[in-house]
C-alpha cells in the first residue's frame, strides 16, 4: 500500500494508523469502565439500602472484572497522553495552549480522583467501613464521568473549534472565554451520546453474562438480578440513545456537512429531496455509490424534516477536502444497525416481562449473549465515523492532518506501530481472556472479595477488621 508514496506521505499514514490503533484499543476499556463504575456504585448503594447480600455478591463479582478492565484502560490511556507529542508534535505546538489546559484539568479533576480512590474501592472495604467505601466507589464513578467530560470537550473542540484566536506564529490561542472553548457547539451532543453509549455497552455485557448463566441455571438469583437490571437499561436507554444520536447527526450536518455526506453516501447533490441509502458500495475513485438500495427522499426527511428539502453532496466539496466515504458510510451503518438491534432486544425483554417469561425464554437469553459485545463494536464504529468523517483535518477546517504530524521518519513510526500492535494484541488479548474467564463462573452467595482472594491481606499487622466486618455483614444479611 506504500508503493508510489514518498517517505513523508508514508510516515503520515503510519502515524495515523498508529493513533487510530492505539486510541481504538484504548477506548474499549473506558467504554466499559465508565458504565461499570456507575453500575458498581448502584449495586453498592442497593446493598447499603436494602442490606441484601445479593447486591454485595454482585458488587464483588463485577469489581474483579472492573479491576482488570480498569488496569488496561489506565496503561493504554497513558500511551495516548504522550502520543500527541511523539507523533503529532506540530499539532501539539499549535493547539497546546487551547486544548492542553482542558487535558490538564482532566488529569487534575478526574485521573487523580479515580486513581486516588481506586485502591480503597478495590481493597479497602475492611479498612474504612461501609460509608467511606461507598464514597470511594462513588468518587471512582464520578471520576470516570469527569474524565469523559474533559476529553470529549477536547475532541469536540477539534471538530467544532470556537472561542480561539490565532497568534502571531500561527498557533491557536485561547480567547477571553474558556466556556466558549469548553462548551463548543458539538460538545453537549457528543458528551451525552458517548456517555450513554458507555452505559449501554456495560448493560449489554452485564446482560450477556446474566443470560449466559440463566441458560445454565434459570433459578440462579444473581444471574436473574443482573439480567433484569441490564434489560431495563436496554429497554429504557436504547431509545433515548437513538434520539440523542439523531440530534448529534443534525448538529454534525450543521457544522461538518461533508461528514454527513460521507455517512449518507451522498456523492451527488440532491436539489429536490435526497434518498436514504440502506446499502451500497461506495466508489471514491469515480465518486459514485454502486449497487445502491435507497428509500427515496427519506434522507431529506430525516435530516431536514422535509422530504423535498435539497441536500448538497460531496460534489460541492473540493476533492482534496473530502473524507474517505467507504469507511464512514459503513461504520455509520454498523453503529446504527446495532443501535436498532439493541432497541429490539430491549423491547423483547419488555414483552418477556409482561408475559412473566424474562427468566424462562432461552431464545431471548441466546440473543442477549450474542449481543454482549455489541456495545463495543457500536462505540468503535461510531468513533470511526466521526474521526474519519472529519478528515482531512485535525482542527476542523483550520489545520490539516498532514500539517499536524511530527518530523519522525517512516522506519521509526513503522517500528513503533508494529510494537504497539504486537504488545496490545498480546497483553490486552490475554486481559480480555481473563475477563471472559471471570465471567464464565457464575456469581454465587458469599462471593469472595478481592482482598480475601489468594492475594490476601492488604492489612496491617495486628489489625484484623476483616472478621469484624464479616460478622457485621452476616448479621445484616440474616
Amino acid at each position: 500500500m506504500f508503493a508510489g508514496m514518498d517517505a513523508q506521505a508514508a510516515a503520515l499514514v503510519l502515524a495515523r494508523m498508529q493513533f487510530a490503533f492505539t486510541v481504538s484499543f484504548h477506548f474499549i476499556f473506558p467504554a466499559f469502565s465508565i458504565g461499570l463504575a456507575s453500575y458498581l456504585a448502584v449495586l453498592e448503594a442497593l446493598w447499603l439500602k436494602t442490606g441484601k447480600e445479593l447486591y454485595l455478591d454482585l458488587f464483588r463479582y463485577w469489581l474483579k472484572i472492573f479491576s482488570v478492565a480498569f488496569a488496561m484502560g489506565v496503561v493504554s490511556g497513558l500511551v495516548m497522553s504522550y502520543q500527541f507529542g511523539t507523533n503529532w508534535s506540530v499539532f501539539s505546538d499549535k493547539v497546546g495552549g487551547v486544548i492542553g489546559p482542558l487535558m490538564a484539568y482532566e488529569v487534575l479533576t478526574a485521573f487523580f480522583l479515580e486513581a486516588g480512590f481506586l485502591g480503597v474501592m478495590l481493597f479497602g472495604m475492611n479498612r474504612v467501613g461501609r460509608g467511606l467505601h461507598f464514597a470511594a466507589t462513588l468518587m471512582v464513578a464520578v471520576g470516570t464521568f469527569i474524565s469523559a467530560f474533559w476529553i470529549l470537550s477536547v475532541n469536540s473542540w477539534m471538530q467544532t473549534p470556537t472561542g480561539f484566536e490565532i497568534g502571531p506564529n500561527g498557533a491557536f490561542m485561547p480567547g477571553p472565554s474558556w466556556a466558549a472553548i469548553i462548551f463548543n457547539p458539538s460538545f453537549p451532543y457528543r458528551l451525552v451520546h458517548t456517555v450513554i453509549a458507555a452505559y449501554l455497552t456495560t448493560a449489554f455485557v452485564v446482560g450477556a453474562v446474566g443470560a449466559w448463566h440463566l441458560l445454565r441455571d434459570r433459578v440462579n438469583l444473581h444471574a436473574r438480578k443482573m439480567f433484569s437490571m441490564a434489560m431495563w437499561m436496554a429497554a429504557l436507554v436504547a431509545p433515548v440513545q437513538i434520539f440523542v444520536g439523531d440530534m448529534h447527526g443534525l448538529n454534525t450536518l450543521e457544522h461538518q456537512p461533508a461528514k454527513v455526506m460521507a455517512m449518507e453516501g451522498h456523492y451527488q447533490s440532491h436539489p429536490d429531496g435526497a434518498p436514504l441509502y440502506l446499502f451500497g458500495i461506495p466508489d471514491d475513485k469515480d465518486q459514485k455509490l454502486d449497487y445502491a438500495i435507497a428509500i427515496p427522499k427519506a434522507s431529506s426527511l430525516i435530516l431536514k424534516h422535509d422530504p423535498n428539502a435539497p441536500l448538497a453532496g460531496l460534489d460541492t466539496i473540493a476533492p482534496d477536502k473530502r473524507p474517505p466515504v467507504w469507511i464512514v458510510f459503513w461504520s455509520f451503518r454498523i453503529m446504527v444497525g446495532l443501535g436498532f438491534l439493541m432497541l429490539g432486544l430491549g423491547l423483547w425483554s419488555l414483552l418477556a416481562r409482561t408475559r412473566k417469561k424474562l427468566y424462562d425464554w432461552p431464545l431471548l437469553h441466546r440473543l442477549a449473549v450474542l449481543m454482549g459485545p455489541s456495545g463495543f463494536i457500536a462505540v468503535i464504529a461510531g468513533w470511526v465515523t466521526t474521526e474519519v468523517g472529519r478528515q482531512p483535518y485535525t482542527v476542523y477546517g483550520l489545520l490539516t492532518t498532514a500539517d499536524s504530524v511530527s518530523p519522525i521518519a517512516a522506519p521509526a513510526v513503522a517500528t513503533s506501530l508494529a510494537a504497539f500492535v504486537v504488545v496490545y494484541f498480546a497483553v490486552f488479548g490475554i486481559g480480555t481472556w481473563y475477563i471472559v474467564h471471570l465471567m464464565k463462573d457464575p456469581p454465587h452467595p458469599h462471593e469472595p472479595a478481592l482482598e480475601e482472594e489468594e492475594r490476601a491481606p492488604i492489612r496491617s499487622a495486628g489489625i484484623t477488621p476483616a472478621q469484624h466486618m464479616d460478622a457485621q455483614s452476616d448479621g445484616a444479611a440474616s
Partner: protein, 332 residues
C-alpha cells in the same frame, strides 16, 4: 522576577519530582522483583504498592499533560527527539501496569507476569533515565521542531543517567519495602537498599562530575563566582545525606532510609534545576520561548491552586488507609 511562566516551570518540576519518588519506588520494587522468592516475599512486595501504584503513575500523566498544556513547544520538541525512549517507556509501563492484576488472575502463568513486571519496570526506569541524559546533553532544534535523527539521544552520558535512575529507583523501592514488608523479604529489602545506595551514590557522583563538562553553560553555572559559594551546600548536603542513609540502612531503621533517599532525589532535582535553568530544552528553548499563552497559564493555575491541595489530601488519606506492614501471614 517570579512570573507565571516561572511558576509553571516550578509546578512541572514538582509534578516530575512527585512522579519520580512515588512511581520511583513502584518501579524500584519491579526492578528488584526477581530477587524475591515466589510466594510470600513477592506477594508482599506486590501488595505493598497495589493500592497506590495507579495514583503514583498519574503524576506521569500530569507531568506529560502539564508540559503539553504549559510548555507546548517543549512537549513538541522533546518527545519526537526521544521517540524510541518514550515508546519503550510506555510499552514497559503497559507490562508493568497489567502485571498487578494479571498475576493474581492466572496463577499458572504467574512467573511470566512477574517477569513482565520486572522487565516493564526496568525498561521504563531506564528509558526515563536516558531521556534525562538526552535532554541535558542537548537536542538539535531548527525553528520550532526537532531536527535530529532518531538515535541522537544515545550516548555514554545518557546511558550513565539511565543507569543512575535505575539504581535510584531500586534504592527507593528497597527502602519502601523495608517499611512495608516482614520476614525474609524485609531482610532482603535492607540488603538491597545498601547495594542500591552505593550504586546510586556512585552514579550520582559520576553524572554530577560529567555534567559540567557537557556544555560551557553548566560549567559556568557551577564553577564561577559567586554561584559556586551559593551552590557548595548542594554537594555537601548530598554527601551528608549519603552517610546518614548508609548508616540508617546498616542499623535497619524502619522509616529513615526512605526519607533520606527522598532527600537525595530532592537534591538531585535541585542540582538538575541549577544546571538547566532557565532552559526547558537546554541551550535552545527557554521556558519563556516554550510557554503557553498567558490565558492558558492563568486558567490552569486556578485549577492547580484549587484542586492540588485536595489531591494531596485524599492521596495522603489513601496511603493512611493502607498504612503499616503488609503482613506475611493470613494468606488463604
Amino acid at each position: 522576577m517570579i512570573d507565571l511562566t516561572t511558576i509553571w516551570a516550578l509546578i512541572i518540576a514538582f509534578a516530575v519530582l512527585m512522579y519520580v519518588v512515588m512511581d520511583g519506588f513502584d518501579l524500584g520494587i519491579g526492578i528488584l522483583f526477581p530477587w524475591f522468592h515466589e510466594g510470600a516475599e513477592r506477594d508482599q512486595a506486590m501488595n505493598a504498592i497495589a493500592p497506590v501504584w495507579d495514583g503514583n503513575e498519574t503524576w506521569l500523566v500530569l507531568g506529560g499533560g502539564g508540559l503539553f498544556a504549559a510548555f507546548p513547544l517543549a512537549y513538541a520538541i522533546i518527545l519526537p527527539a526521544t521517540y524510541p525512549l518514550i515508546i519503550a517507556m510506555l510499552l514497559g509501563l503497559v507490562f508493568r501496569g497489567v502485571a498487578f492484576e494479571f498475576r493474581w488472575r492466572d496463577p499458572r502463568h504467574r512467573a511470566f507476569w512477574d517477569w513482565a513486571f520486572f522487565a516493564g519496570s526496568l525498561i521504563a526506569a531506564l528509558a526515563q533515565g536516558i531521556t534525562l541524559g538526552a535532554l541535558l546533553q542537548g537536542i538539535h532544534v531548527e525553528g520550532r521542531a526537532y531536527a535530529g535523527g532518531w538515535l541522537d539521544w544515545l550516548s555514554p552520558y545518557s546511558l550513565m543517567t539511565g543507569a543512575g535512575v535505575v539504581a535510584g529507583y531500586a534504592l527507593l523501592g528497597a527502602c519502601w519495602l523495608a517499611i512495608k514488608v516482614e520476614g525474609s523479604a524485609e531482610d532482603k529489602a535492607f540488603r538491597y537498599a545498601r547495594l542500591a545506595a552505593w550504586a546510586t551514590l556512585a552514579l550520582m557522583a559520576s553524572v554530577s562530575l560529567a555534567t559540567p563538562f557537557l556544555a560551557h553553560q553548566y560549567f559556568q553555572r557551577w564553577f564561577t563566582e559567586p554561584m559556586i559559594f551559593w551552590l557548595v551546600p548542594v554537594p555537601m548536603l548530598t554527601a551528608g545525606l549519603a552517610i546518614l542513609l548508609l548508616r540508617a540502612v546498616h542499623a535497619r531503621q524502619p522509616v529513615r532510609p526512605f526519607l533520606y533517599a527522598l532527600g537525595l532525589f530532592l537534591l538531585g532535582m535541585i542540582g538538575l534545576g541549577v544546571s538547566m535553568w532557565p532552559w526547558v530544552v537546554p541551550q535552545s528553548i527557554s521556558i519563556w520561548d516554550a510557554a503557553a499563552p498567558e490565558r492558558s497559564q492563568v486558567f490552569m493555575l486556578i485549577g492547580v491552586g484549587l484542586i492540588m491541595p485536595l489531591i494531596l489530601v485524599y492521596t495522603g488519606w489513601a496511603y493512611w488507609v493502607f498504612r503499616g506492614k503488609v503482613g506475611e501471614h493470613g494468606y488463604h
